[in-house]
């Protein structure tokens, strides 16, 4: 009878292998989901292309998202605003006809939210626009996207890094962002 623990380790090897393989599988599954199904590129009710509007035609972000300049929330343009141009432009496109249908029925378009902060966060677009931040810094290169994707996690660390680096006054005080 021996004292070495090696024989026992041999006996345990298959089980340990299974645990190890299972754990690796867990990691793969987790990150595969995050990588392939990030849910950061939802399908919108109308296939609005930022690449066309903001990219090709170089319409400034704040032209449609007017409120970002003066309000905490950036706001989504109303159908009314869409029709401001599309009453004349590209009226026969099927997508625009869809928009026109919403307009005629006086219905809002149920856009799916992409950049969603928790309810306990106070993020005033106004201040960030006033500080001269480009929209792309948080939202990514939206002007190149046909369908908008959330590029950054929009988590606390991201805010802190920027607030630290750009020396925002009391930028890392909790009450600056948490309500």
């Amino acid at each position: 009878m021996g004292v070495s623990i090696v024989p026992t380790l041999r006996v345990l090897k298959p089980a340990a292998m299974m645990v190890a393989v299972g754990f690796v599988g867990l990691l793969i599954g987790y990150f595969a989901n995050a990588a392939f199904f990030p849910g950061t590129t939802p399908v919108q009710p109308i296939e609005f292309s930022h690449a066309v509007h903001a990219g090709d035609y170089e319409i400034p972000c704040l032209y449609c998202h007017t409120e970002a300049r003066r309000s905490p929330s950036a706001g989504v343009p109303s159908v009314n605003k869409c029709m401001g141009c599309h009453a004349i432009v590209a009226t026969d496109s099927p997508l625009i006809r869809e928009v026109a249908r919403y307009y005629e029925n006086n219905e809002p378009i149920p856009w799916v939210k992409i950049h969603d902060l928790p309810d306990f966060v106070h993020f005033p677009h106004k201040r960030h626009v006033a500080a001269g931040l480009e929209c792309q810094e948080c939202h990514g290169p939206v002007e190149t996207m046909d369908r908008v994707t959330r590029m950054a996690p929009n988590e606390m660390g991201q805010c802190l890094t920027c607030h630290r680096d750009s020396e925002v006054e009391h930028g890392i005080d909790c009450l600056t962002c948490h309500k």
Partner: protein
């Protein structure tokens, strides 16, 4: 001849210690006593042993203390949260953290020191007699030559060993 071991099994600690003392007197340096209980007086027979454990404990504790204070003070400094009108680096509470971390790392280092100095865990088989975990006291002598082995066996027998076996080096029983 290759090195081999003589292993004598004794019924009691006195006899085993006596055998060990005699063997040592005869110049056998590589002696192991395997016993079910720690033996008193083994140091008088086999000479004082030194262990590095205390150094592990000491440096572990020091590391823990420094680490504890650094942890507390560093956390306080890296994200300033002034509380209760106290300074950012406050000694009384941080000393508690230091104290606890000192002990924690002291303990962990002691364990590490124990494992290293006692050469545990065992991966390669070593000489062992299961009876020595019950009520037998074994004296294991490493012998370089055949003559030594015989002499050792003799001494063990004389000292009252109930049984003496030869064990090939590195092998089990």
């Amino acid at each position: 001849m290759a090195r081999s071991n003589a292993l004598g099994l004794f019924g009691g600690p006195k006899a085993a210690l006596a055998a060990a003392g005699k063997l040592r007197g005869e110049g056998f340096e590589s002696l192991d006593l395997i016993s079910p209980i720690p033996l008193h007086g083994v140091e008088e027979v086999l000479g004082k042993k030194k262990s590095a454990i205390k150094r592990f404990t000491f440096f572990g504790a020091i590391l823990g203390g420094l680490g504890g204070f650094t942890l507390a003070a560093g956390t306080a400094v890296l994200y300033l949260h002034p509380t209760g009108g106290r300074p950012i680096i406050t000694f009384p509470p941080f000393l508690i953290i230091t104290y606890e971390m000192t002990i924690l790392l002291g303990i962990l280092a002691t364990v590490l020191g124990f494992l290293i100095s006692a050469r545990l865990p065992v991966f390669r088989e070593r000489i062992y007699v299961p009876e020595s975990a019950v009520d037998k006291f074994a004296v294991n002598v490493a012998c370089d030559a055949e003559a030594d082995f015989k002499r050792a066996t003799e001494i063990l027998r004389e000292a009252g060993a109930e049984e003496v076996t030869e064990i090939a080096p590195g092998g089990g029983q």
